[in-house]
């Protein structure tokens, strides 16, 4: 039996929601296959595929050797020719071993072939820090892929979006990368039954406000919402936008909010420099919304360092509720 939310909706965890999306897609479409390291009996490094191998068999839930370049590339080739593979990286960090196939091949094939080819592959990438796994297992590299025309780059913050984005990605004719946050896998939330699509490229206002706009993605949405609640007690009313999609990016939702609040802060887990915040800040600075700004734009990203192992350093390296709260307060009071 499933738990119910306050609104009477069924409640699932983020990983259950992703699993349900995969099962729905596999039931509906025999060309959907799963590939990845230890996604079979082990159930995936984060137990996301869990029992899918029992339900769909080893021919559709394929354990790959530890060969990210090859595995991702095989998924690209299969997508090019009629299958719809979902390739799971054990950690988003290992996508670096497959950069060639993702960036040189998957992203560019349609264009290089003048629109004659399609690569409907989906990459799932467990991401982010907070697990004590140190520098090579904790990165947030989603912005890198934002720089690549031909890719779509998503970041679900809730179980509902995790399911809806995966189903939308599978229906999309182009390569889609979904960065799932490791700390969110156990998070529970209402999830609609059946098939539905979370629109790709649409941000969502998670909390309406008037004083300052906080744009965040993935786990930072939850930290920003928590910070916003604390600020509300002091009379600072923050609007929190869940970016959801890094590429394509939803300009209009952000610009509309900035025109309203006159203050913009971007919060993300990737390294601050050259990150999602740079793109959004520049986009606002280049638009009419610039005239509405009452204060400089503020970016809150990770420290200029690899993710450290020591838990206190690890926490200090990325934005937390208290740092978001303090920064938003300074911005609202124009102390920046």
């Amino acid at each position: 039996m499933n738990a119910m939310s306050d609104a009477g909706l069924r409640v699932l965890s983020y990983s259950e929601a992703i699993r349900e999306a995969m099962a729905i897609a596999m039931e509906a479409d025999p060309t959907v296959i799963l590939m990845g390291e230890d996604i079979g009996v082990y159930g995936g490094a984060f137990q996301v595929t869990l029992d899918l191998v029992d339900r769909f068999g080893k021919d559709r839930v394929m354990d790959t050797p530890i060969s990210e370049l090859g595995g991702a590339g095989v998924a690209v080739g299969a997508a090019l020719t009629g299958l719809k593979p979902i390739y799971e990286f054990q950690f988003s960090d290992f996508a670096m071993l497959a950069m060639e196939q993702i960036v040189n091949q998957a992203a560019k094939l349609r264009y290089m072939l003048g629109g004659e080819a399609s690569v409907p592959v989906v990459f799932r990438l467990p991401s982010g820090s907070g697990t004590g796994a140190a520098a090579q297992h904790s990165q947030s590299i989603e912005a890198w892929f934002g720089h690549v025309p031909g890719l779509k780059v998503l970041q679900p913050a809730t179980p509902e979006d995790a399911k809806g984005m995966l189903l939308a990605a599978l229906a999309d004719p182009d390569p889609v990368m979904i960065f799932e946050h490791k700390l969110l896998y156990k998070m529970k939330g209402p999830v609609p039954e059946g098939s539905y699509h979370t629109p790709i490229g649409k941000a969502l206002v998670r909390r309406a406000g008037t004083d300052v706009t906080i744009v965040a993605g993935s786990i930072m949405v939850h930290r920003a919402l928590e910070a916003a609640e604390k600020l509300a007690a002091e009379g600072i009313n923050a609007e929190v936008i869940d970016l959801r999609s890094i590429r394509p990016i939803d300009h209009e939702t952000i610009l509309a909010s900035v025109r309203k609040t006159g203050r913009l802060m971007v919060v993300y887990e990737g390294v601050k420099a050259f990150g999602v915040g740079a793109e959004i800040s520049a986009m606002v600075a280049e638009s009419d919304a610039f005239d509405y700004l009452d204060a400089p734009i503020l970016r809150l990203g990770a420290a200029d360092a690899p993710v450290p192992y020591n838990p206190d350093l690890e926490r200090a390296a990325v934005p937390q509720v208290d740092t978001i709260e303090a920064a938003a307060r300074r911005l609202a009071r124009r102390e920046v």
Binding site: D63, G70, T131, Q136, D304, P308, L313
Partner: protein, 337 residues
């Protein structure tokens, strides 16, 4: 009888006839130390003193120790995510290792790296690695340095059965071979890469068979037999030092514990684990040393007790050590001027 005839007539195990008793006793001590260190780490993890994850090599101690028998501090190793054994075998201090686990400033990586990144430059350990296969090309680079600078040190590259399917493995072996570099590739085939059987993931039967493709010698040995490993690595190291190029040694072994702290062991049976536990490499080496009069039961017990005391002292040192300052989070990203 000449000395050479005496050696060939000597049918004692390779290690016994090759190494001095003191060296053999030290090898046993380090094997106990590896075992107790990892048990201590596991225990600390259970008590919540260590965060993150860790990969234990319990059951694989002979592979680590016998491989390092003839290596000096000038010789290099590259290690893996399952690297505590390599680190201790190469001579690291368990206090500083524990301190790293506890995220302390006195740790080998000043608390920045944790279990998966321990390195000890002083003893030639270039580091564990969070990336499967990440150490393979680095080992070849270290061997290139030795060759270019005219030094006779060698590099031993540890990696797992899973790593042999990464492109880095193939690229590294090929380059080591074409440039005849002094590197010894040591595959610790513990039958699984996480949950994936080597027999499923790897096209060849023995990983050492891959050596043929890169025109280097390849040999598969019982990785729980100290002497078998020591002899195979001895030959490979001698070849490397003589400038004849790389070799591939495959140690067949088994990890008793799960892959990491989140393993439900669904891919193997309890019987299989027990069968391998009965082939304990430490008990086997200890019995061999006693049988050949290198030490007696009391001597072996004293060595085992010494390992326990060293681990306890190491944990105490780690607990008492200071944490890095949070304001130093960006320290060590670049060289300090």
């Amino acid at each position: 009888m000449t000395a050479a005839e005496a050696i060939s007539a000597d049918n004692r195990p390779f290690a016994i006839r090759t190494y001095a008793p003191a060296q053999l006793r030290e090898a046993l001590r380090r094997m106990y130390l590896i075992r107790r260190f990892e048990e201590g780490a596991e225990d600390s993890y259970m008590r919540g003193l260590i965060h993150g994850t860790m990969h234990l090599s319990i059951g694989q101690e002979a592979s680590a120790m016998a491989t390092c028998m003839e290596l000096t501090d000038a010789d290099k190793i590259t290690s893996t995510h399952r690297g505590h054994g390599h680190c201790i075998a190469k001579g690291a201090d368990v206090g500083r290792m524990f301190a790293e686990f506890f995220g302390k400033e006195t740790g080998y990586c000043h608390g920045r790296g944790g279990s998966m990144h321990i390195a000890d430059v002083r003893t030639g350990n270039l580091g564990a690695n969070g990336i499967v296969g990440g150490g393979l090309p680095i080992a070849v680079g270290a061997a290139l340095t030795a060759k270019r600078l005219g030094r006779d040190d060698v590099t031993v590259c540890f990696f797992g059965d899973g790593a042999n399917n990464e492109g880095a493995f193939h690229e590294a072996l090929n380059m080591a071979a074409v440039w005849k570099l002094p590197v010894v590739f040591v595959c610790e085939n513990n039958r699984y890469g996480m949950s994936t059987p080597a027999a499923y993931a790897t096209a060849v039967r023995n990983i050492a068979d891959r050596a043929v493709a890169y025109a280097m010698p390849g040999v598969t040995v019982d990785g729980n037999d100290f002497s078998a490993v020591a002899e195979a690595v001895h030959i490979a190291v001698a070849r490397a030092r003589a400038g004849e190029g790389p070799s591939l040694v495959e140690n067949l072994t088994y990890r008793w514990r799960g892959h990491s702290k989140s393993d439900r062991n669904r891919y193997r049976t309890k019987e299989e684990i027990e069968e391998w536990m009965a082939r304990d490499p430490i008990a086997r080496f200890r019995a061999e040393l006693i049988a050949h009069g290198i030490l007696d039961e009391a001597g072996a017990d004293a060595i085992a007790a010494d390992a326990v005391a060293t681990v306890e002292a190491g944990i105490a040192f780690a607990k008492d050590s200071p944490s890095p300052a949070v304001t130093d989070v960006t320290r060590y990203v670049y060289a300090e001027s």
